[in-house]
C-alpha cells in the first residue's frame, strides 16, 4: 500500500517538470543557449567592462576608470554630431517608410491588375544588400560639377529640361536650420546630405513595410467594414476608424524592426557617403569602427558600442514588455 503510494507520487512529480520529451528538448536547445550566453551576453558584459577601462593602443590594459570614456565621447563634437544624425536618419526613415509602405499596401489591396507583379517590384529592393544599395545610390546622387557638367540624377534632370531641380545632394554641407546651443559642440538641425541617404534606405525598406501592411489589411474581416458602410460611413471614415486602428499592431512591429535597423545602420552609410561631407552623415556605428580599429582607442569604441546598445534597448525592451502583457491578456 505504502509502496504503491510512493510509486505513484514519484512519477507524477516527474511528469510535471521533467519527462523524456522535456529532457530531449532541453538537450536540443542547450548548445545554442550556451553559445548565446557566451558569445552574446558574455561579450556584452566584456564590452561593458572594457568601456570602463583605459584600454588604448594594441596592448590590453584594464585599469578601471569608471565612466570617463563616456564623458569623453559625449564631450566630443563628433559624437554629438553622430547622435544628431542618428536621430534625423531614424525619424525621417521611419516616417517615410511607414507612410509610403501603407500607401503602397492600400493601393495594391484595392484589387489592381497584375497585383503580384507590383508586389514583387516594390518588395524586390529588400533582397539587395545595403552595400549594393549604397554604391548604386552613391553614383546616382554624386552631383558632379553641377549645374553645367552634372553627373547622376543631376544629369537626368538637366537632360529632361528640369535643370532647376539640380542640387548638391550628398555633398550638401548645410545643416537646416543649424542652431547653435551653448555647451553643445554641434549644430542642431537636419544635415541636408542625410536626405539622399534616407531616400536610398526608404527605397530599400518601404517594400517590406508594404508587405507587412498588406498582410494586415488582408486580415481585417470584410464584414466589419461592410457593417460600417451599411451604417452610412464614407470610405475615408471606414479607413480612419476601422482599418487604421486595426493595423496598429502591424505599425508597432514595423517600427521596432525598422527602428533597430536604423539605429545600427553602418553598411549603407559607409558605402554611400562614408560619413562625409565633414561628419554630416556619420552615425555612431562608423565612429565606433574608426576609433576602435583605426585610432586603437578600444575603450572609447566600447563606450560607443554600449551607448548604441542602450539606445536600441530603449526601443526594443518596452516593445517586449508590451508584447508580453498583450499575450497575457489573450
Amino acid at each position: 500500500m505504502r509502496q504503491a503510494k510512493t510509486l505513484s507520487a514519484h512519477p507524477a512529480r516527474q511528469v510535471r517538470w521533467m519527462n523524456r520529451d522535456r529532457a530531449i528538448a532541453l538537450l536540443m536547445i542547450a548548445p545554442s543557449a550556451l553559445a548565446i550566453a557566451v558569445f552574446v551576453y558574455g561579450f556584452i558584459g566584456w564590452t561593458a567592462y572594457i568601456s570602463m577601462t583605459d584600454w588604448r593602443g594594441l596592448m590590453i590594459t584594464t585599469s578601471f576608470v569608471g565612466f570617463e570614456n563616456y564623458l569623453t565621447i559625449f564631450n566630443t563634437g563628433r559624437f554629438q554630431t553622430n547622435i544628431r544624425n542618428l536621430i534625423v536618419f531614424t525619424v525621417f526613415f521611419l516616417a517615410a517608410c511607414l507612410i509610403i509602405g501603407l500607401l503602397l499596401a492600400v493601393l495594391i489591396d484595392s484589387r489592381v491588375r497584375f497585383e503580384g507583379f507590383f508586389r514583387s517590384v516594390y518588395i524586390f529592393p529588400m533582397a539587395l544588400s545595403f552595400i549594393v544599395t549604397g554604391v548604386v545610390w552613391q553614383w546616382l546622387f554624386a552631383p558632379g560639377n553641377w549645374p553645367n557638367d552634372p553627373t547622376g540624377i543631376n544629369l537626368l534632370f538637366k537632360q529632361s529640361g528640369l535643370g532647376f531641380l539640380q542640387a548638391a545632394w550628398t555633398t550638401d554641407t548645410s545643416v537646416v536650420p543649424g542652431w547653435r546651443i551653448e555647451g553643445l559642440r554641434t549644430r542642431i538641425g537636419v544635415p541636408m546630405a542625410m536626405i539622399p541617404v534616407v531616400v536610398a534606405a526608404v527605397w530599400q525598406m518601404s517594400g517590406f513595410v508594404m508587405a507587412m501592411y498588406l498582410a494586415g489589411l488582408r486580415g481585417i474581416p470584410e464584414e466589419i467594414k461592410e457593417a460600417a458602410r451599411v451604417d452610412g460611413a464614407t470610405e475615408w471614415q471606414v479607413f480612419r476608424t476601422i482599418t487604421l486602428p486595426m493595423l496598429q499592431p502591424i505599425t508597432l512591429s514595423a517600427v521596432i524592426i525598422l527602428g533597430h535597423i536604423s539605429l545600427k545602420i553602418f553598411d549603407l552609410i559607409v558605402t554611400m557617403t562614408g560619413g562625409a561631407p565633414g561628419n554630416n552623415t556619420e552615425v555612431p556605428g562608423l565612429y565606433m569602427y574608426e576609433i576602435t580599429f583605426k585610432a586603437n582607442k578600444f575603450a572609447e569604441g566600447a563606450a560607443v558600442a554600449m551607448v548604441m546598445l542602450v539606445v536600441v534597448a530603449l526601443l526594443v525592451v518596452p516593445y517586449l514588455i508590451y508584447n508580453r502583457r498583450t499575450e497575457v491578456e489573450r
Partner: protein, 435 residues
C-alpha cells in the same frame, strides 16, 4: 524504423560537420602566390613556412609582391610562402584583421606597415622585434638616407624594413591646358593663386580635390603646412608636445581655405582617382596628390610630359615628403629565420629593384639601378637622393594612428564647413594624441 531515423540524423550531422570544416579553413591565409615546392635543393633556411601579411591584392602592387616572392623562392626553394592578403584601399580592412590576429596571439611572420610612427602602436604593445642590429648586419644603414633612418627610429630602435618610397607632395597638372593658357606650374603659394585665378577665368576647375577616401583634404593640408612652416618646423609639429598654438597654423588654414574655394564643390563624392581623372579629362587644371597618381595616369593610357606634368606642390620646392611601405618582424614569429631572410630580401637592391618598377614607386636605397625606372620615377629617385626629407602625416610616417585619425577628421570637417577657427581648435585638441 528507429534505426533508419537515427541513421538519417547521424548522416545529417556528418554532412553539417563536413560543411563546417570546409568553411572553417583559414580564410585570411590564401596561398595565392607560390605553391609548395619539393625540398630537393638544400637551402640556407631549410624548409618550413613563411607567412607574409599585406593589403597588396591587385595591379602593380600584387605584381611587385609576386616578383619578390619569386626571387625568394629561387633563393630558398624549400620554404612555402603563405601570402595572406586582405583587400581594401589604404589597408584599413587588413589592419583590422591583423590587429585581431595579434590580439589572439597568432601573428604572421612579417606584415606590411607604413614605415615611421604608424607602427608605434605595435611596438608599444610588444608585438614587434627591433631591427637596428639587423640593419647593421645587412648594411642597410649605409645605403638608406640617414634622415630617413632617423625618421623611422622610435624608442631608439628601427622596427621595419622600408621596401619603397612614395612622394606625397606632388602637383600634377594638365599640360595642354597650361600650354594653351601660357601658364607654368606654380612654385609658390602666391603663384598658385595667380594660376588658379587664370584657370577659373577660363571656366576650368583650378584644383581638383577628392574626399571620398577621407584622406584627400588632410593630404592637401600637409603640403600647405610644409609650405608655411618649412621643413624643420614642419617635422617638429608632429613631435610629442608640439606647439599647435603657433599663429602659422591659422595662416595655413586660411591658405587651405582659399585653395578649397578654388576646387570642385563635389569633393566629398569623389575619390582621389576621380579627382585625378578630372585633370586628365581637362575639366580641372591641377591636383595635389601622392605619386600613386602617376600610376593611375599610366593605367589610363596617358603619357607623362604629353598629357600630364608634375612638379613639387606649391611652396614645397626642394623638400621631399616621403611615405614608405615596409615589413617588420613579429615578436614570437612562428618562422623567424625565414622571416629574416624575407626582410633581407625586402631591403636588398635586388628585391627593391624587382618590386618598385612594378609598384610605381622608388627604392628606399640610394643605389638603385636607375635604368629600370620611367621618366617620373627617375626624377623622383634624384629628388629623394638630393632634397630635404620630411615624413608624411596622413600616410603614417610622421605620427601615430590615434593622432592621424584626429587630424584626418579635423580636416575632413574643415573640407565641409571651411571654418578656420574650428579647424585651428580641432588641430590643437588633436595634439594631445602625439607621442
Amino acid at each position: 524504423m528507429r534505426t533508419t531515423k537515427w541513421l538519417k540524423l547521424i548522416s545529417a550531422f556528418a554532412i553539417i560537420t563536413l560543411a563546417l570544416a570546409a568553411c572553417g579553413a583559414p580564410s585570411t591565409a590564401q596561398p595565392t602566390a607560390a605553391p609548395t615546392q619539393p625540398t630537393t635543393a638544400p637551402a640556407q633556411t631549410g624548409g618550413g613556412k613563411l607567412e607574409i601579411f599585406s593589403w597588396w591584392t591587385n595591379g602593380g602592387e600584387a605584381d611587385g609582391l609576386n616578383a619578390m616572392f619569386s626571387i625568394y623562392q629561387q633563393k630558398y626553394p624549400g620554404v612555402e610562402i603563405v601570402n595572406a592578403t586582405v583587400a581594401g584601399g589604404a589597408g584599413t580592412n587588413a589592419k583590422t584583421v591583423l590587429k585581431t590576429r595579434l590580439q589572439g596571439g597568432q601573428p604572421p611572420d612579417s606584415w606590411q606597415v607604413h614605415a615611421g610612427k604608424e607602427l608605434t602602436a605595435y611596438v608599444d604593445a610588444g608585438q614587434m622585434e627591433p631591427l637596428t642590429q639587423f640593419f647593421k648586419e645587412q648594411g642597410f644603414d649605409k645605403v638608406m638616407p640617414p634622415k630617413l633612418l632617423e625618421q623611422i627610429t622610435y624608442n631608439g630602435e628601427i622596427w621595419s624594413v622600408p621596401v619603397n618610397i612614395h612622394r606625397s607632395n606632388v602637383l600634377w597638372y594638365n599640360i595642354k591646358i597650361f600650354q594653351e593658357n601660357g601658364l607654368t606650374p606654380p612654385k609658390t603659394i602666391d603663384d598658385f593663386f595667380t594660376v588658379a585665378e587664370a584657370l577659373k577665368a577660363k571656366g576650368i576647375i583650378p584644383l581638383a580635390v577628392g574626399g571620398k577616401d577621407k584622406f584627400e583634404t588632410p593630404h592637401l593640408f600637409e603640403s600647405v603646412l610644409l609650405a608655411v612652416f618649412g621643413p624643420e618646423d614642419y617635422a617638429r609639429l608632429f613631435q610629442p608636445g608640439a606647439d599647435w598654438s603657433d599663429p602659422r597654423v591659422r595662416q595655413a588654414a586660411e591658405i587651405a581655405k582659399r585653395m578649397l574655394e578654388y576646387s570642385n564643390s563635389d569633393r566629398s563624392s569623389l575619390s582621389w582617382a576621380d579627382a585625378a581623372q578630372l585633370v586628365l579629362d581637362g575639366k580641372a587644371g591641377m591636383t595635389i596628390m601622392g605619386d600613386w597618381a602617376h600610376g593611375y595616369f599610366i593605367s589610363k593610357g596617358a603619357k607623362v610630359g604629353v598629357d600630364y606634368g608634375y612638379a613639387a606642390a606649391p611652396g614645397n620646392d626642394g623638400v621631399f615628403m616621403w611615405l614608405s611601405d615596409s615589413f617588420g618582424l613579429a615578436k614570437g614569429a612562428p618562422n623567424p629565420e625565414q622571416a629574416k631572410a624575407w626582410l633581407a630580401l625586402c631591403g636588398s637592391r635586388e628585391g627593391q629593384d624587382a618590386f618598385n618598377p612594378k609598384k610605381g614607386s622608388i627604392p628606399a636605397r640610394i643605389d638603385a639601378d636607375v635604368s629600370l625606372y620611367d621618366e617620373y620615377l627617375k626624377y623622383s629617385i634624384k629628388a629623394f637622393g638630393s632634397e630635404k626629407l620630411v615624413p608624411s602625416v596622413v600616410h603614417g610616417a610622421a605620427a601615430p594612428e590615434a593622432y592621424m585619425t584626429e587630424y584626418g577628421n579635423a580636416l575632413n570637417v574643415f573640407a565641409s564647413d571651411l571654418d578656420v577657427d574650428a579647424v585651428v581648435q580641432a588641430l590643437r585638441d588633436a595634439a594631445k594624441d602625439l607621442k
